[in-house]
């Protein structure tokens, strides 16, 4: 070490104060207390917090702790059974979310566990079954964090907060107060991030808590999810505002989030519900375009509204062309993977690895894959490798490990740089970001991030975002990133969801066939008095943006379909909500044969100038099962959002309607939706 550094060091040593003795003792005690809490051996601050109706959890926790000590780890099949329960995604789900109202909830996790445990072999003390050595080590590593989860579950809802006030002192203030202060503030960030948000839209209902990457904060407050949403679209009067404009939305994350909530025994937060994403989660069999036509074909159907006899639904379905798969260009995929410590849960990194393998089987030899991770020290984990070299790729995937805090130095830049190095003429490059909500990807300011991604999008590299795990998921940022990157935000909660997103829809998700698809409907005041667009709140565009090619909008993937539904009230219907005005001429003349006029703008991939498609909206078409099912999902979404427009129409009706219109349902998506509706019905108590 050089002399001047030695000087510095000496100066620094003098400048460094001795630690305050009192604080030292406090901090040591605090650490010890947290340690004990984590181990489960602490004397509870309130004797009531771990006994009583949750005593079972304490029992399990104590059992696990007892078994954790080296000697006792000998062999118990019950432990392995528990381990299985914790390690499977379903098991994780079971434990993940404390149900706030344990006593009244329909699905009581403690009962679930009790049932599961009852089914486990009764061999706590049977020594003859020797567990193999590696499994013991595995259990050893996995159990300690699990007992934390159980600890959280064991305490009644108020207990952790109360405890944290006592135990964590100043830290607690940091965690909670900052967050409370911040509740309102990030609206601005979200607004700036999301260019799909028109300046006129109400921002009031955007709920966005700041992403807190700190493990400790997560441990204390495990639910820091932020949702992007806006107030439900209101009813508009045609004579005042005849034109409705929005961008298509091909994301599906909202549906998966809702499914995950319902399967955990909780109704999703209303703000997590984006109706259009629920509708667009399902594949629909609309008529596709003929050869030589536009890359997608609009189908307009007018049908009766299930929940209101006085109104009609205008169902607009866009079906994208499915190019011959053999003709698809070579793919360059750069996976940007969050390997921060929080990704270690079974439903995050392990699920990602499994998903990745599924996808790999569907790539072609000429496709290339590269992997960049953005936690800890590593950067590029896998240099661009031909998809045919499965061994190398699989080894790289297997080697991904969650550990360390996020460093993220330039993770995103690196991923894009790798993508750029792979790009060749006529190939499609895409960065696929997989994360559980830590978006510390190396660019801190949301504005800079947005600018960066938009810029890269214009240079031809697309971005998709895959969300994993619950609790910390930053849905708002995911949305904003995917929208700015012309990609899809998907939430992967199960292997079958991974199958859907990465395998079944591989082609569509990865090959855009039409860019910046915008929809504009002009209603005919002679035929329609009022209208309401169901969903697409976060996708609204200004009327003039429709013809402005500089304004970004959603992309349509190969073979994908997009659905939008309006509820319209015909002139003269009893269901008209707004009275006519006294001082303005109510005289509307004109032909009432058309309800309105549908205009679509899109760009061919790689083109800068948009093309226009126009279709009149008129009655007379028959609503098939596809449109009916979409309408049922629209109803389901509105029920979950607590919409005012449904009247007495409820879960019984939506379940009947969805069940009757399941159609072929080759992959069981629609049957699953019916199951979710039934769950929601039970949970909502209707």
């Amino acid at each position: 070490m050089s002399d001047d550094l030695d000087d510095l060091k000496a100066a620094m040593t003098i400048a460094t104060p001795a630690p305050d003795a009192a604080r030292r003792a406090e901090n040591l005690a605090l650490a010890r207390q947290n340690f004990d809490t984590l181990q489960g051996s602490a004397k509870p601050l309130r004797p009531t917090s771990v006994i009583g109706q949750n005593a079972l959890w304490t029992g399990v926790k104590t059992m696990l702790n007892t078994l954790t000590s080296k000697g006792a780890l000998g062999a118990t099949t019950a432990l392995v059974a528990c381990g299985f329960l914790f390690l499977t995604p379903t098991g994780q789900d079971l434990l993940r979310k404390p149900v706030p109202t344990v006593g009244t909830s329909e699905v009581d996790p403690s009962k679930e566990l009790q049932r599961t445990l009852a089914q486990a072999p009764e061999s706590f003390t049977t020594p003859e079954l020797q567990v193999e050595e590696p499994e013991v080590i595995f259990s050893d590593e996995i159990i300690a964090p699990l007992s934390t989860q159980i600890e959280q579950l064991a305490a009644p809802k108020e207990a952790p907060r109360a405890q944290s006030e006592v135990i964590f002192g100043r830290t607690a203030t940091l965690g909670y107060d900052n967050e409370a202060t911040l509740q309102a503030a990030p609206q601005r960030q979200v607004a700036e991030l999301s260019n799909a948000m028109p300046s006129g839209a109400s921002l009031d209902s955007i709920v966005a808590a700041p992403p807190i990457a700190d493990d400790f904060a997560n441990m204390q407050n495990s639910d820091t999810e932020a949702y992007a949403n806006a107030a439900a679209n209101p009813v508009k009067v045609v004579s005042e505002e005849p034109v409705s404009t929005f961008s298509i939305d091909v994301d599906t994350a909202s549906y998966s989030l809702i499914r995950s909530s319902l399967q955990n025994g909780q109704l999703p937060p209303p703000d997590a519900v984006r109706v259009e994403e629920m509708i667009n989660y399902f594949p629909y069999d609309y008529a596709g375009p003929e050869a030589g036509e536009a890359p997608f074909r609009p189908t307009v159907t007018v049908m009766g509204t299930p929940w209101n006899a006085g109104t009609k639904l205008v169902h607009i379905g866009l079906q994208g062309r499915m190019p011959a798969v053999a003709d698809r260009p070579a793919l360059n995929l750069v996976f940007l993977i969050d390997t921060s410590g929080s990704m270690a849960d079974a439903n995050k990194l392990p699920l990602l690895k499994q998903s990745f393998r599924l996808m790999l089987d569907n790539l072609r030899p000429e496709d290339q894959v590269a992997i960049v991770e953005y936690a800890g020290s590593a950067g590029q984990v896998l240099a661009p490798t031909a998809a045919s070299d499965r061994t190398t790729i699989l080894q790289a995937i297997q080697g991904l490990g969650a550990g360390g805090s996020t460093n993220g130095q330039g993770g995103l830049e690196q991923a894009y740089a790798v993508a750029a190095s792979m790009a060749e003429e006529d190939e499609v490059s895409r960065v696929i970001l997989a994360t559980d909500g830590d978006f510390n990807v190396g660019i801190d300011s949301p504005d800079a991030l947005k600018a960066f991604i938009s810029d890269k999008r214009d240079s031809g590299t697309y971005l998709s975002v895959l969300g994993f795990g619950r609790g910390n998921l930053d849905d708002a940022t995911m949305q904003a990133l995917a929208q700015n990157g012309n990609g899809i935000a998907s939430f992967i909660d199960t292997l079958s969801e991974a199958q859907k997103v990465l395998v079944d829809q591989l082609t569509g998700a990865l090959f855009p066939i039409a860019g910046d698809v915008k929809v504009q409907v002009e209603f005919n005041p002679a035929a329609v008095a009022e209208y309401r667009l169901i969903g697409y709140e976060t996708r609204a565009l200004r009327r003039e943006d429709f013809n402005n090619d500089a304004v970004d909008a959603g992309d349509l993937g190969a073979g994908h379909s997009v659905t939008a539904i309006y509820e319209v009230t015909p002139v003269g219907s009893d269901a008209v909500l707004n009275d006519p005005l006294r001082y303005q001429a109510a005289e509307v003349s004109g032909n009432a044969a058309e309800l309105g006029f549908l205009k679509l703008r899109y760009k061919e991939p790689g083109e800068g100038v948009s093309k226009l498609l126009e279709v009149p909206i008129s009655e007379g078409s028959v609503a098939n099962a596809e449109a009916q099912f979409a309408a049922a999902i629209a109803g389901f979404g509105q029920l979950l959002r607590g919409s005012d427009y449904l009247g007495d129409w409820g879960y019984d009706q939506v379940i009947d309607m969805a069940t009757a219109n399941r159609g072929e349902d080759a992959f069981g998506y629609r049957s699953e939706a019916v199951q979710l509706m039934r769950l929601a019905q039970s949970l909502s108590g209707h």
């Binding site: 070490m1 605090l30 700190d214």
Partner: protein, 181 residues
């Protein structure tokens, strides 16, 4: 008492598998050094106290991911650097959110200047270094080799050397400007 000579790594492993006494001993052993390091990272006593508290509070959870292949000191420094990073980020988010983008840097600089007036030259100067340089300098001043600092910060050894020379250069600049003024 018999454990006074037990190596750190054994204590950490024992603590990670639930030995409370080992954990207490380990933390006691390293607390003063940790606090001193936190002070170097933050340059402000109050901040250092808070940062140390953050680390102490979260250490039990973090310890569960401790793996024996890392030295405890190296691991602990990494935890500290990350905790400092998180604190800065939280603060930055808070300030950004409350004042808006344009004002953020201004307000940050002003706060820094106010605080700076109260402190001696060295800590002030270190505060004026950017986070990367300061973290690196704090480590190296704490007797970490460049290789160890590289491991802790997750960058290459060359980067550490570059940062140190850059930090020295800037400190010298500050000094010269100050002497002129």
């Amino acid at each position: 008492m018999m454990r006074m000579t037990t190596p750190d790594e054994d204590l950490a492993t024992a603590a990670a598998s639930g030995d409370g006494a080992a954990f207490a001993l380990l933390l006691d052993r390293h607390y003063d050094r940790l606090f001193a390091f936190c002070f170097r990272l933050t340059g402000v006593r109050a901040e250092a106290e808070d940062l140390t508290q953050d680390i102490c509070a979260s250490l039990p959870a973090k310890l569960q991911s401790y793996q024996r292949r890392a030295k405890v000191t190296t691991w602990l420094y990494r935890v500290a650097v990350n905790a400092a990073h998180d604190r800065r980020r939280r603060r930055a988010t808070y300030v950004k959110a409350s004042t808006g983008w344009g004002d953020w840097e201004v307000s940050r600089t002003e706060t820094a200047q106010e605080e700076a007036a109260k402190m001696d030259w060295l800590t002030t100067a270190m505060q004026r270094l950017n986070d990367d340089l300061r973290d690196t300098l704090a480590l190296v001043l704490d007797d970490m080799t460049h290789a160890q600092a590289a491991e802790i910060l997750g960058v290459s050894e060359g980067t550490i050397s570059w940062r140190i020379s850059e930090a020295k250069k800037r400190l010298k600049d500050f000094k010269e400007k100050e002497d002129v003024a």
